[in-house]
Amino acid sequence: MNQSLSSLFDITIDFDQSHLFFPRIVIALLAVLFLWIVISNAGRIQAALTGKGNKFRFFEPNADQFRLLATLILIPLYFVAMDQIGQLIPNMGMGFLLSSIPFMFLLSLAYLHQRTSRLIMLIAANAIVAPLFVWFLLGQIFNISLP
């Protein structure tokens, strides 16, 4: 970066490099703060990592791995499906509609704690009605772009 410092505080910013000026300041501040935080909490960080006292746990105790994974897998699949279907049938919001129905059904199923046939029918009904409602109201009447 060409910065001419004629006196200690004077500064001119070279236009070609000006897009890096502020980011560099921010990065410098982040580095300083990070060191400061690490040093002032060194004791606790060491204890957390080595396991004396409160070991650092990334996941909650008794984390529900199944539901967590279900969420983290179904959502990207949903997005990809939306995009792909939307490219096959463009401009009708079909990508949204056709991928929302199975997504809602599967995710609700995953979140369910008691699998009774009554609840499953409820989920199925919701999985069909809710996306249809949104697609119709927002996509057709309000004319909002849907994938």
């Binding site: 006196s7 505080f9 004077d10 500064i11 001119t12 910013i13 236009f15 070609d16 000006s18 897009h19 890096l20 000026f21 502020f22 980011p23 921010v26 990065i27 982040l30 703060l33 990070f34 400061w36 935080i37 002032s40 990334f58 996941f59 909650e60 008794n62 984390a63 529900d64 539901r67 967590l68 279900a70 969420t71 983290l72 959502i75 990207p76 949903y78 997005f79 939306m82 995009d83 949204f96 997504f103 809602m104 995710l107 609700s108 979140y111 369910l112 704690h113 989920i123 919701n126 999985a127 809710a130 996306p131 949104v134 927002l138 309000f142 004319n143 909002i144 772009s145 849907l146 994938p147």
Partner: protein, 501 residues
């Protein structure tokens, strides 16, 4: 007056609808007013500015108010601003006085909301007139002040500043915009990302991801357990509601509403801080402090009037300085952007009719909120029963609609949702604070522009200190907030160590 032409029946209908939907969103634990506004934001594009604002302001007022319902009935706050309502509301419900508690809260909420709307009406234009005189230097210092305030009120000040800076950093990703005097270069990213991140991350998907999707991921990790709600929705066996209870609460109402409005004015601080501060103040000044926490109406009054007073207060810095007062008003910026307007000191002067329309919408929404909640409370209480396994997928679907539509159909924004949802989930695990991060993200771009332009115009760093008396005052404020926060942290550390002794 032209202004009355803007007030069509649709305007009032939308404000009312917004209030009702907002109450429902607020009443469901896990869904917040911010989420309601964020998800409905894209709808406002086709509605036009005044109507869109009517809807969003209705959602805001309704959302903050709705949180009191599960707070009282289930001991679960519907929104973070209702945490202190649980302290006295739930014990009252257990004594069978649920309806009384609910109605006390509703009246207190109405008072707080109207109080702050009046303050907003008179104070914001004054502040705006003042802020017009700000040059780039003062504007930058204003943002710096906002960031220090938020950091100082977070649990750990260093981490708060760090989170805010991370937000700023994230906002800088993209091109250095030519329209802001930049050179149009890409920065802070790898080459393959260039086509997607030309204008950086869009605000709305980031917000919805951090507040909406992250919450759902957390809930999934916890197992999406349903609260056992069936037993809780019977409403009144004990003492009935009487307006007379407010005779002794007048000072409480005024003080708590003032606290709420003031906290709302501070950039970035939200409802939970307002209600906690008002509640603790009431406890300090109460004649019967031991009653609070066991079902004292004064606790409810303090909590609910403060959190509704926040609504008007948070709009003050937004409409006079362009700096959002809390995360919901931050999302409101999106509504103005959708319509091509910029909020800042010139906003009120140039858009005086919209300004009057907004005040009207705010007042009307408060009245609708009151009417709906006061008379239909039995039905509202049932909302608490919607099962999460139905609700959460619907929320994700609505988030997707919101994110996609905001830039008229960019799939990358939908992926941004997921990215920031996961980021938000991880961030709260490692201790980063989301509120400063969001404000940093929103203000980061402006901070850069003002900072660089100040230097380009004056050529020296010392200008930040010597520009004008206003700059000096701002530095004093920054210093004051830093000192204040250090004092608060020392005090709470001392309290903790003496409590464990």
């Amino acid at each position: 007056m032209e202004f009355f032409d803007l007030l069509s029946p649709v305007f009032f209908l939308l404000a009312a609808a917004g209030a009702i939907v907002g109450i429902i969103f607020g009443a469901i634990p896990g869904m917040t007013a911010t989420m309601a506004v964020a998800v409905c934001l894209p709808l406002t594009y086709s509605l036009g500015l005044q109507e869109g604002l009517a809807l969003l302001l209705g959602l805001y007022v309704g959302g903050i108010s709705g949180g009191l319902v599960p707070a009282i009935l289930l001991y679960i706050p519907g929104t973070p601003s209702s945490i202190t309502t649980t302290f006295d509301g739930y014990p009252m419900a257990q004594k069978g006085e649920a309806e009384r508690a609910l109605k006390i809260c509703i009246v207190a909420s109405l008072f707080g909301g109207l109080f702050s709307a009046v303050v907003l009406f008179f104070f914001a234009p004054i502040l705006a007139d003042f802020a017009i005189k700000f040059s780039y230097v003062e504007k930058f210092l204003m943002i710096l002040f906002a960031l220090t305030v938020i950091a100082s009120l977070s649990k750990n000040m260093l981490v708060g500043i760090f989170s805010g800076l991370i937000g700023v950093f994230l906002s800088l990703i993209g091109t250095y915009d030519v329209s802001n005097g930049g050179n149009g270069e890409y920065r802070l990213m790898f080459e393959f990302m260039e086509p997607y991140l030309e204008s950086g991350f869009s605000l709305l998907p980031v917000l919805i991801g951090l507040f909406g999707v992250a919450t759902i991921i957390e809930q999934a990790e916890k197992g999406v357990k349903e609260e056992s709600a069936e037993r809780k929705v019977q409403l009144s066996n004990g003492a009935p509601f009487q307006f007379a209870v407010f005779r002794s609460q007048f000072v409480n109402l005024i003080r708590s509403s003032t606290i709420g409005t003031f906290i709302g004015m501070l950039p970035g601080i939200g409802g939970s801080a307002a209600s906690v501060l008002a509640y603790t103040q009431q406890k300090n000044l109460s004649k019967h402090p031991e009653e609070m926490g066991k079902g004292a109406p004064e606790g409810l009054v303090a909590s609910e009037s403060a959190n509704n007073a926040l609504t008007g207060g948070a709009l003050i810095p937004l409409l006079s300085l362009g700096i959002p007062g809390d995360s919901t008003t931050a999302v409101l910026i999106g509504a103005f952007t959708l319509q091509g307007l910029q909020v800042g000191p010139l906003f009120i002067g140039e858009n005086i009719d919209t300004w009057y329309a907004m005040i009207t919408a705010l007042l009307f929404a408060n009245l609708v909120m009151f009417a709906v909640m006061f008379y239909a409370i039995r039905y509202i209480a049932k909302v608490v029963l919607v099962p999460k396994f139905i609700l959460y997928p619907i929320i994700i679907m609505m988030c997707v609609v919101g994110a996609y539509a905001i830039n008229y159909g960019i799939m990358f924004d939908v992926w941004t949702l997921l990215l920031f949802g996961i980021f938000g989930w991880i961030a709260s695990k490692i201790g980063l604070e989301i509120a400063p991060l969001v404000i940093g993200f929103i203000l980061g771009g402006s901070a850069e522009v003002y900072f660089v332009k100040s230097l380009e115009s004056y050529g020296t760093f010392t200008i930040f200190f010597t520009k004008s008396p206003i700059a000096a005052v701002l530095w004093l404020l920054i210093l004051a907030s830093v000192v204040f926060s250090i004092l608060i942290h020392r005090k709470s550390k001392a309290a903790k160590t003496s409590a464990t002794v």
